[in-house]
Symmetry: D2
Subunit: 346 residues, 4 copies
């Protein structure tokens, strides 16, 4: 079975394993205070164009990062605005609510929150005489790439930032697949994100790490005492260097960006192949995910050999599939899939 169902079916980039071996018997400080974590922080800040005062914290997973950041940064009576399809709203088993916070949902447009919808929501909240009987919006959660594989444009991000400034909202970007988004030519850069968001995370789990997400707090005053929050939520890894080493390897010489490009190039190949075969796409994506619409029989046929999701039914005979490439997808898998697709479509 060849897997196109997700971008975390394999282990880690070999250079990460090598570095873990090389450093294995070093005795280091614990809880993220080691030299590797410090170096990784420096590399990441440099890549973001941020100064030394910007905290960077490592988490073993995205749900943990999301729940800790959201809980730590909101005031008790505030909630976080998300699309209805946001990962925190549908696929984290209520992890955010488990910290006592409400998720305030808006209908997504291509997986994204339009700035105009956000402004309208905030205006309605503050116009309500009984607004204290509703949850005050305090943060906006977006994903980039989104759960639908789409990307925010620079103009869209800037417009969200403007609404956040107007209503005192924290802008939080979930970058579980951030590298893949950054690898798309012409897309927003890491520096754009660090300039426009208050806090965001750079996903490692889906981009070559065994596990690991780097939360970057671009507005340092939001990160005061954040290590207490890290520990309080069970997110402070004892041997913190395991996280530090991975991000050190990924960011010391651009490996993170390099392996992301590999995935996007192969996704482009898949997109081209699907279009050439006459398939339409459910969403217009550019990073490492694509959603080609296929006859159900074709999906069934392909699933005998490839693992991927039938994402959404389109009509009585067709559904959109979801395909992911990753940092380590072999080129021949793509070629094989496209061959089998063409055969199945005949």
């Amino acid at each position: 079975m060849i897997m196109f169902n997700c971008d975390y079916a394999e282990g880690a980039h070999p250079r990460i394993l090598e570095r873990l071996s090389e450093t294995n018997f070093d005795q280091t400080l614990t809880y993220g205070l080691d030299v590797h974590s410090d170096r990784a922080r420096s590399y990441i800040r440099a890549a973001c164009g941020l100064g030394d005062e910007a905290p960077v914290h490592f988490f073993t997973g995205g749900t943990q990062a999301n729940l800790t950041v959201i809980d730590a940064m909101l005031l008790p009576y505030q909630g976080v605005v998300s699309t209805e399809t946001g990962h925190i709203n549908v696929h984290e088993t209520g992890a955010v609510e488990a910290t006592g916070r409400k998720i305030l949902t808006l209908p997504p447009v291509d997986g994204k929150i339009p700035a105009a919808s956000l402004r309208e929501y905030c205006e309605a909240h503050y116009a309500d005489h009984d607004r204290d009987q509703t949850v005050q919006p305090g943060m906006v959660y977006i994903s980039h790439p989104t759960e639908c594989g789409t990307l925010y444009t620079l103009a869209e991000l800037e417009a969200l930032r403007a609404v956040c400034d107007e209503f005192g909202l924290i802008l939080y970007l979930d970058g579980a697949r951030l590298g893949y988004g950054l690898a798309v030519p012409g897309s927003v850069t890491l520096r754009d994100i660090a300039r426009l968001c208050d806090v965001f995370y750079i996903g490692g789990t889906k981009l070559g790490a065994m596990f690991g997400e780097a939360v970057v707090i671009a507005r340092p005053e939001l990160g005061k005492c954040f290590r207490y929050s890290l520990k309080r939520r069970g997110a402070m890894l004892a041997k913190g260097r395991m996280l530090g080493i991975q991000f050190e390897v990924l960011f010391e010489d651009g490996l993170y960006f390099e392996i992301a490009q590999h995935a996007v190039a192969l996704a482009d190949e898949l997109r081209l192949g699907c279009r050439d075969a006459g398939l339409e796409m459910l969403y217009d994506t550019a990073a490492n995910q694509l959603f080609p619409i296929m006859p159900d029989a074709v999906i069934a046929k392909l699933q005998e050999k490839y693992r991927f999701f039938a994402w959404e039914r389109v009509d009585s005979e067709r559904s959109a599939a979801r395909l992911c490439t990753s940092w380590c997808t072999p080129e021949e898998n793509v070629a094989a899939f496209l061959g089998d697709l063409r055969a199945a479509l005949k």
Copy 2:
């Protein structure tokens, strides 16, 4: 600087790193449903003398395991009984309270909860006419070895079990250093623990893993739907096999027990050396920790070369130090320390 301050200053057992490399490009199921995690579960159940129906779940750290287990298993109005010095009470930044649970504290006796104290506490609760204005005890949290390095005897554990049965309490054992306790000749066995506790965790972080704790639910009915709780607390690792592989290696042929013996043997050497040098111990320990009482000047002198804690002041001139050995402490470090100790004491 040679570290005796903790048992998690190094990386992982080399066989774990090897296995990670060997399996690195395999594509496996995610979220702990992979073949390695399944094998690790089987090995652990076998070691515990438990049947297939006993759930085993892997966590990346002890605080995460503690907060998830305690939150998932208590009723909303119940609290968890712990010693005042229990790890959950003093060193987890309120992680248990962050889930809405109160910790009900008892004074420790050698780091342990005597069954008689527990019975008295429960009796007092149920004798109180206004008991519904206090938190109902619903679980007992013990550590084995304790935070003071001491061990529960079989009789002590059985007595606690009896009180738990009498008052409907869940008995939960935090085994962050469990292997080291099991390696002490004559101590309770893993099967004793699996028979007497309702739920416990087998610590990997301090015993040769990069990270990882295996929660064993010996009373399966307490583990129903536990994977929801795992995800809700941000504890479901995407590439769950990273945990599975580590426990597979540790338990497939007894490596876990073997490396624990190494640490205990060296701790015994340290204990003997300290006693020979005329030092008393703060607690009578047998596993991988010892608390020799030394003149402050000797501690200061040794700390120039060795990292370890001055644990507790004993009188105006002496303090108890805490020394830990680990699965990978080199024999020569012990010899060097004892040599320097004897020199400093002269």
Copy 3:
């Protein structure tokens, strides 16, 4: 200013104030263990057709009742299904989420949850291979009358009950305005509700009490140790008799039902008057609320003399108003309003 904006703008039924005075200097037990609270519980159980084993608890307000019941009865990883317009979802400032629970929303049909939608939702949850990454539905929250003033029919309630039985859901009915619903000829009875719901509350605040909601736990096993939960959520009134006396007066000889009929009769008069004046209704209501659609200019004119909400815009020139009658609305206010309405419409 004459108020038709809500049903809790005045104080309490005079017989309640009298009884409070008569009993004022009696010394009674506290925290709801007094004789008045006990009598009130008996009267309520009798009205519901429930036996002595069914717990009845008094709360000072609806949000408090909702958050305590929902938190106490759900398992940690479960959520409560509600309409998007449900009171707990939009007008309680995240009180349910503050207890760590997620609200799972369904689109309302006339303010109600159709049994078919609920079944579909539950089926989709259990069909999902990754269902443990989403919140498990554990309870259904409905209001009767709903926030739109509509009522569940007996068949609708029975259908919901059947789905709840199928998927192990608790059925919880918020009866903030329950009396007004019960007063509608042909509607479900209190006994129907006690038979079909697992837990529900009988609203007093909007029906003649100074404050007070009586939570009835029709399935006693759900109410075990509930007093702990009451205290834990700050809902155990020290002088609990203040609640007991009010419900004693309301239920000892049917006063609750009698004053509800008064309100519904006047609402019927308003409905008839509006329809005679040619107005349509936004929702087809039968209890104490109505939503007549009026030209905006008419609303503005009437609001000079009457306080009521412009509930929802209908088109560019018309909005639906919301009018409430209450247990103490004077007949002449209705007549005056209808007169002014007719004048404004000319």
Copy 4:
């Protein structure tokens, strides 16, 4: 049975009932925005020497006030320091922990927190290199009078204030019986409390109200958006005027202070009578509670006619009783009790 067991066994001061009747059919704004609540706020601010900007909020009970204030004002990783015997720590069924906050306990001295203990605790926290693995102290909770009936002196309060300033702690005073403390000649005044505390509540439930506690936020910046927190915790009473009217009556012309003096005068009579009869006291109290130490047989004899608690065993034959007077204790009850006491002691 004559009750000396608590100060909330009766109803409300008759003038409160009268005012409720007089205003009963007025239509007022809801949720605490009515004219009576506003007047009550003004009276209370004036009595405290505070300006218009100081928020005053009304709650129906003390646990509700405590949990809402503590949750709203602490940062997520902070805890509240209390004595081990503090009401929030032992008699509120974990209500504070239910909001996710840890209570950090200190041993009480006469029911109080000595400033020196607090300083030592805070210094130890900040001196700990691993302090982020423990809960950061963020607030101090004291009761005045304390659970033992004792009072803070002005010097003690000032010393606590100084430590709070030094470590950035919020000083919160639980005044469930505040009036009785203020009525003791030479004790701290309401203005002292408003000057030295950041937030405190003035108890009504135990001082003539049916129910009600007035939270005064002396440092207005701590009270921003507090109404959201009120609603979020189910503490916003729909007919808020019920609270407003009671505090209006109690504070418009000094009734609160007057009825407190009555209770303290009778408690003084009891204290004098007990001492004359040769009894010692467990605590040196001056407000409305006393703890005379009596032979167990005397307690048993008196409990045939009077309800009061045997508070604490003193030796094998004697216990301390707890007696409370209240705003409405009849003088003859005191005389009767003392007569029966003298008889029983013979």
